[in-house]
Subunit: 458 residues, 3 copies
């Protein structure tokens, strides 16, 4: 494990020597997705109680739990470091927090749920009246049993979040208020893991790791990213893959500011979040809108058998906001099930272990593998017999008896690949034009290369 407080982790320290690798397509067919979903769920259970934030020991502890799945490096960036327009903030840590009533009972207790503390609260230890306390209390009147999740990273204050029903029970008496936190110079921590492929061209997979006890947003993303990394370690890859577990916004800004020279190598990217609920898949396109990653995800979801929605980029959401800022403009989309803000439990205590399931995590994992397969296998080819169709029958690529009512899917895929392999269309184009699944197109390519009827362009 590389724990480099200078923030200067070398690329070598992020790579890992490995056993001979398997063929991706075969490994995808062999892997037990449901088992992967179950392991992701188990990791979520372990991570759930920890109080994470954009800095501090809760974040570090969480990244070390992820290290049980994949040996990510912890990167530490000192408070005060300038990262583009931003400054790395002070480090926040918290041990305890409560509101005690006149009887000395903890009526709001951080030990029961870490959402009770306004994240990044300054330390406080005072007695005060309900009137004095009330401006520091936050509730959700529409869902009175749920505790809201709130933060105040960049304005120094303190506060408590509580259920409306709890709030309503508070009598007009004196309360003992305690937040045992520190906000001091320290470090911003993030996790990074890179798998070297045959080329230095990279696929970036990023997730935010800063939310406290919230399962779908984003323990689901953190654990699925880890399982993807572990899987990809074992297979032969064209691209290199870089995984980031970062605090939202300031984390991606920090990483981008420290890694500008390598940005041109990033060819495709995905931000992962909200992968564990039971909603249909959502893909939010990159700012470019028609990048290869956009076409790849939509192709996979169109043939997934599940309903899905594809949305245009908007400059709001997760870290794609930074990856897709106009001066960075990476081809990075966002892969989710139900998007942020679109399910009632979002940013409340109800985003708990009952909202996410192993089977939803498993299916998210499976679709992401299919996306990676598309990226790995996509390319442009040249039909080496472009004048009329080659005689497929004598090469065993075509049914031997004519006059039948329809060509099989396999033959249609072969005809499409031959017809559109003029160097202008990639396999994603051919899949889209033909309406066939990418896998069929890719299999046809393999058969045609075997028969010396096709060669890759470039």
């Amino acid at each position: 494990m590389s724990l480099d407080r200078n923030g200067g982790a070398s690329r070598q320290s992020l790579e890992n020597p490995r056993a001979p690798r398997k063929i991706l397509r075969q490994a995808i067919n062999e892997i037990d997705s449901l088992e992967q979903g179950r392991e992701a769920y188990a990791a979520i259970e372990e991570l759930y109680p920890i109080c994470r934030s954009i800095t501090g020991d809760g974040l570090r502890q969480s990244l070390r739990i992820i290290q049980k799945t994949v040996l990510l490096a912890l990167q530490e960036v000192p408070t005060g470091t300038q990262v583009f327009d931003w400054t790395v903030p002070k480090e926040w840590n918290i041990r305890d927090a409560y509101i005690k009533n006149g009887a000395g009972e903890r009526v709001v207790d951080f030990q029961k749920c870490n959402l009770h503390v306004l994240n990044y609260s300054l330390p406080v230890r005072r007695k005060m009246s309900l009137t004095e306390l009330r401006p520091h209390l936050f509730t959700l009147p529409e869902t009175p049993e749920w505790i809201p999740y709130r933060t105040s990273y960049y304005r120094e204050t303190w506060g408590f979040c509580l259920a409306k029903t709890q709030f309503d029970r508070l009598k007009d008496e004196e309360y003992e208020v305690c937040i045992d936190s520190t906000l001091e110079p320290g470090y911003l921590t993030y996790g990074e893991y890179r798998i070297q492929g045959a080329t230095d061209d990279e696929v970036l997979i990023s997730c935010h790791a800063c939310h406290p006890s919230l399962c779908n947003d984003n323990l689901s993303g953190m654990t699925i990213a880890a399982r993807l990394a572990r899987f990809l370690e074992s297979v032969s890859l064209r691209y290199s893959y870089r995984f980031l577990w970062i605090p939202g916004t300031v984390g991606s800004i920090t990483w981008l500011a420290r890694n500008e020279p390598i940005l041109p190598q990033i060819k495709h990217g995905l931000v992962l979040s909200c992968l564990g609920d039971s909603g249909p898949f959502t893909y939010k396109r990159s700012r470019r809108g028609d990048a290869e990653i956009d076409r790849a995800v939509e192709q996979v979801l169109r043939h997934s058998g599940f309903s899905f929605q594809a949305l245009d980029f908007i400059p709001y959401g997760y870290d794609e906001r930074q990856y897709c800022s106009p001066g960075i403009n990476l081809p990075v989309g966002c892969f989710l099930r139900t998007p942020n803000g679109c399910y009632p439990q979002y940013h409340t205590s109800a985003d708990d272990l009952s909202l996410v399931t192993a089977s939803s995590l498993a299916e998210s994992f499976r679709q992401l593998l299919r996306v990676i397969q598309v990226l790995e296998e996509n390319g442009r080819y040249l039909n080496l017999n472009p004048k009329c169709e080659p005689q497929l029958g004598r090469r065993g690529l075509y049914r031997q008896m004519g006059g039948m009512k329809d060509a099989a899917v396999r033959e249609m895929a072969i005809l499409w690949v031959l017809n559109l392999s003029d160097g202008q269309h990639d396999l994603l184009d051919i899949a889209a034009r033909s309406g066939l699944p990418f896998d069929q197109i890719s299999s046809a390519v393999a058969a045609l290369r075997e028969a010396d009827l096709l060669e890759p362009v470039e």
Copy 2:
């Protein structure tokens, strides 16, 4: 007032020295549109009885009434002047016209309604049988109470238009037919008014002023144009504005033929007509189809709260036919409520003072101001902090407390402007992509320029 019978009005004579001007956006928010609608309606009442045509004293008298609102110049172009493929026609004037029956009663009387005369009728004074008269009579069998509006500018003839019910009462007797008109060498008259803005780039606002007693088509356009001109005089402007009150077809052809050198300065334009009925708004796009004026009007109407239709250009309608002829091809659209030919009263005596209302005129006026605001405020900007988002919170441009469920519209507008201000997108593009009203986008620009995060391109 410049009344220049040589047709050589200098630009100076069209301009007016004025008091210090107000900010457009503020002036639009302050103006009482309904009062403007009422004043337009009052002017329509005054103009309604006059017998206008494509030349003659009725047209001159009408333009002088418009001068009470705005000091337009009357331009006079002599009969016989060659204007592109056309020749300025003889001037037509009429004093009286009637058909008297055997009892000497005026059964058709120009004094009661000037639509009774086929516009541009030659003088006639004769007795004749009904059989002889009948080919000169025009009715509308489907709406038997209404008098049609008909013209014969370019074929010398005479005729009467009358209600079908009137026609049916005509007995087979001898009639005295009188049209006391003259058709002689004279002038074609049009009104022109120009407001100098900060630049010589122009916005053209054109309306036809040649129809006799018809309110929606086009006293509504004539009077709203006048009120727009009067309003724009009082505000600070980027563009210069040129207003034309012209006889249809031959008037715009005449103006274009006499003003070819300034056509490159015309950056946007609108033809106004049918602004007083209660129908939904209609925008007919310029021939180019995606000109800035097209995008501006559609943006405004989309957020107007009213239903509207946007139609592709067709080479039929009003003077946009000339402005959008292939050798002129100006970016001129047509702004209407119910289009010509699409309401039953069109080109009949039922297009009267009851068809138009002050409130419809007021709302047309208001939307046109919004269009002008878009043209004035639109532009392209450069995000000066393009790498990741700038930290908006410390600049007071972002809510201070995170974790809430949704960003406010104001913040979304700021994020959209930052994200798309790469020099490629103008504010209309950003409004369209974001789905936000132009005004929100423009306000965000102001806030970001204040914070030195944005600068104009060029």
Copy 3:
């Protein structure tokens, strides 16, 4: 008639000297389509009994019957000739075939229906048990009364096709099986006919002529092509027209391989098939998708008064597969009624004389003439009076009396042609933009050229 066994037919031999030609538009208006449909149907009746294949005397005999309509040349290409990736196959001929039961009765009889023989079957004359025979028998269980149509051109075998009801009656006894065929070196035969127009630019009309007793697929295409050729002989043409009656796949490949130098002259093309059933029209676009032929056919069908569908190119179907292979990529679409594979009788004995009608053939013929008219008349023009509209009234091109509610279609067509004749738009563009039938646009062009307001571009 040119019967050139060397396959070296000179162009001269394909042309024909003729009487002075009629104007196409006029000839189309004069021709009795229904009579043409009746003659096509009569030819289908004569062709129906013949056992055609991709080579052999049945094909030759059929082409000679077509010669009664149009003097096509029979081209003969020797077995073994290399044509791109393919080799011209041996020639197949058949005299008789049957299965006799133990009682000596012909229970399956080629003389009753030539579909009974698996097309291209090797000769066989043997006694065998039902068990031995069964793998060589093909039926259609879902339509038990119908005989399937099957071929085995490129795998040497033999077989019989029969109705499922026939098959079910076969007892477990010994059968005498006879196929009196030959498969020997010979020739591949196709028919070709070329009409010289004013230019050498060509329109290619191709149909497959290799199917045995099947009427819609493709005796309908063969006979309609012949009638089109006969019609075009009699009229004055801009393009030259080349008609091909070829065996499917190997025939088009053979023709393309032998005629590569002239391919650049082919500006438009259509494959014809399935023109006699009662289904709506279908147009399958060329691989380019927006070629002039694609726009022409869709324009004609949109205004045909019949329902139709336009489909994107797919690399499956008829000989458009070869014409649209990536290294050939000719602008060739496919014109049909119900497409191959989409009607239940397709490739069965039920595609017989009752499936096709003279009136369906007639309407197909008529629409194809309209397509040819569009190709012949389409072009780009320049408005010679592009600044504002020309004064149409004094040229007799516009109604004389203004103020009427609507312009007639004829006037709208004139206005559209003037407005879009900037050298950028062809008449098909103008027809599409205006929503008017091509014929109206083309008539407007004629009127405007007459008035010296328009000239062709080039």
